[in-house]
Symmetry: C2
């Protein structure tokens, strides 16, 4: 395996009935901004329960953080946080709210007058030295944002990833009961998102990192088993817990430590979300099968391992195993009612041009763990996905 | 799965040639005490390399921390740390040095005049509010101390565990090359120690914690594959890396999150070390097979899972699978030249009495995840191990 750094100081508070502990997790004298998205955080009482647990503290609410949160919305929140002298941010929601709150945390301590500069560091850490501390009440198992330092923000109709060790949540409360009111579609997208977070770190080139590989395979198997159960049955608490912890484990750093990472599917998916508004997890599920088919030779050894260990395919030649594994992966998404063809989403040849052209504008011209997935190959993948 | 908290803020710096980074990991103005054990840390140049990397800082050395480190030795180190106004502790060594340095970190900020009080909290965190910060250069993959908050100290000829969130190492440098000078016996003990750390968290009662189970199984399989390779072949760097990362992963908290934990084998093993000076990892390997045989019914479901998933035993009845898995576990230790009978270590009936009596004195009368492993059962296990 390659040299690596692993650092993840987020305190996870996992389980039912943990709300009251917010009182000990946030300093008693902190003025808190509770951030959230749409109506559900209010409607289902989550924001109120948080207020109740934080009794005695001054609270400011900032709602309306949209999916794929917009720079303008978050800039406004940061301005309010500054004006109100906020000490602590509490994100109540899914990946968009958590990612957005990480951005607010950095922007609230940025006096450059150009919050957008936070976004232009690619996969390098933001060169900030200060951020507001933040905590999360995670309501949607999907992005893993509750236990990592990264976020993705929409700016000028493009999605920009950013990261900073300053934006690790101080804590994240993961209460499986909070996910019970989610629309089914979001469960499906969350399963796909978590699954592909593992895949992008695992399905690359072998570097004999056995522990990392096996953690990845374990999370994939758990998602295959308990993702569909959670999707189908709202009352299976065991499955819901395993799905929730899988999504967090998928992107907390342990699977990607010391191994090559791909992230092509994410880069293509981000553009599909930015241009066509398709939910993030769904874009990944649409794209992944043909990314794997296209990169079969590059990823040969790991694909065989994936087929054997994750899908228990033991018969046939290597190529047959690989094809079966990719087909099973696609069927897994389809069984979650995720269509994996572009036509279903109204993306035609012109749409494909738009995706490829926008990726070019973003400088995303040499993707994958080997840096040789060009835009011509991206186009080929998209055409195959029509 | 059960509710749980997971928190582990240690920064892991894994890989070859990372020594120079010590300079950025420890504050530039810190006065540092480098702690180490016997001669090897000096002889093989590790202490000197650390000094070189920390150039410009005032350094105090404290060597001579013995295996199963003694209270008196560590109290002396804490007194020196106070007198010298040390700001940062750097442990260079294996579990004993790292555990001992955690104790020094707490004692150096303890003005009660009774450092031993640090030891009397059982598995509850030490009620300290301050500790010196510490970092580790881990030279022996085994205890996992490099990435957790716990330690074990010898006081009055008994082994006392202690833990505090204040004693998570700020960082741990894990350089596989540093382990190449270890005596073979210590590699074998380290493999057994790491293996049984997983077992004590994994082989209990099922609570449907799929991610945790699969991480545990992944670490066990890796130890089964790469432990013996590291033992036999000093030059297989890949295996050595996997062994090293397995040992750290085994006890960093991810396997034990939200599941019942046993630790009986450790409690019996500690007494064997205290009374007979047998190395820690070795005591665990001696005891474990008969703990499992004795607790076959209690642990039935998990033992079947262990047999099938870790040892790939698919034929036979459940009981046959369990027996095979336990026998394979014992053979695994034996193949590392660890004898698993008490007679080999000169422990006779009188020795067994001594172990049981000392455990009684320590109040260790109701062990295991179900709290019903009595001293009568401990005796039975020891007699079966004669």
């Amino acid at each position: 395996m390659n040299n690596f750094d692993f650092y993840n100081p987020t305190h996870i508070v996992f389980g039912q009935d943990r709300f009251a502990e917010l009182d000990t997790l946030i300093p008693a004298d902190a003025k808190v901004m509770i951030t959230y998205g749409g109506e559900s955080a209010k409607k289902y009482g989550t924001v109120d329960k948080a207020r109740e647990a934080l009794k005695g503290r001054e609270i400011v609410e900032f709602g309306g953080i949209e999916p794929n949160p917009h720079f303008e919305t978050l800039a406004k929140a940061a301005d309010i946080a500054k004006a109100e002298n906020i000490d602590f941010l509490l994100a109540v929601g899914g990946g968009s709210v958590m990612d957005g709150t990480k951005f607010i945390a950095l922007a609230a301590k940025d006096d450059s007058g150009k919050y957008q500069n936070i976004l232009f560091n690619g996969f390098e850490p933001v060169p900030a030295t200060e951020a507001l501390p933040l905590g999360c009440i995670a309501t949607l198992p999907a992005t893993g944002s509750e236990m990592n330092m990264a976020g993705v923000i929409t700016y000028n109709e493009q999605k920009y990833p950013f990261m900073s060790p300053l934006t690790f949540p101080k804590f994240s409360v993961l209460d499986p009961d909070l996910t019970k009111t989610l629309p089914k579609e979001q469960i499906a997208n969350g399963v796909a998102d978590a699954f592909i977070h593992v895949i992008e770190q695992y399905l690359t080139q072998p570097v004999n990192a056995k522990v990392q590989d096996r953690i990845g395979e374990g999370v994939l198997k758990t998602l295959i088993e308990d993702g569909p159960v959670t999707y189908a049955d709202n009352d299976d608490l065991d499955a819901r817990k395993n799905f929730m912890w899988s999504a967090t484990t998928a992107l907390c750093g342990s699977i990607g430590a010391g191994v090559p990472q791909d992230w092509s599917t994410h880069m293509i998916g981000h553009e599909m979300t930015a241009s066509f508004g398709i939910a993030h997890g769904r874009t990944l599920a649409i794209i992944l099968p043909n990314v794997l088919r296209e990169r079969k030779d590059k990823k040969h050894a790991k694909l065989v391992q994936y087929a054997e260990r994750v899908w228990d395919i033991t018969e046939g030649t290597d190529d047959e195993k690989i094809n079966q594994a990719i087909n099973k992966t696609e069927a897994f998404f389809n069984d979650l009612d995720i269509f994996t063809n572009l036509t279903h989403y109204g993306i035609d040849d012109e749409g494909i041009d738009r995706i490829v052209n926008n990726m070019e504008k973003m400088g995303l011209t040499a993707l994958s763990e080997t840096g040789d997935l060009t835009l011509d190959i991206v186009r080929k993948i998209l055409v195959a996905t029509k």
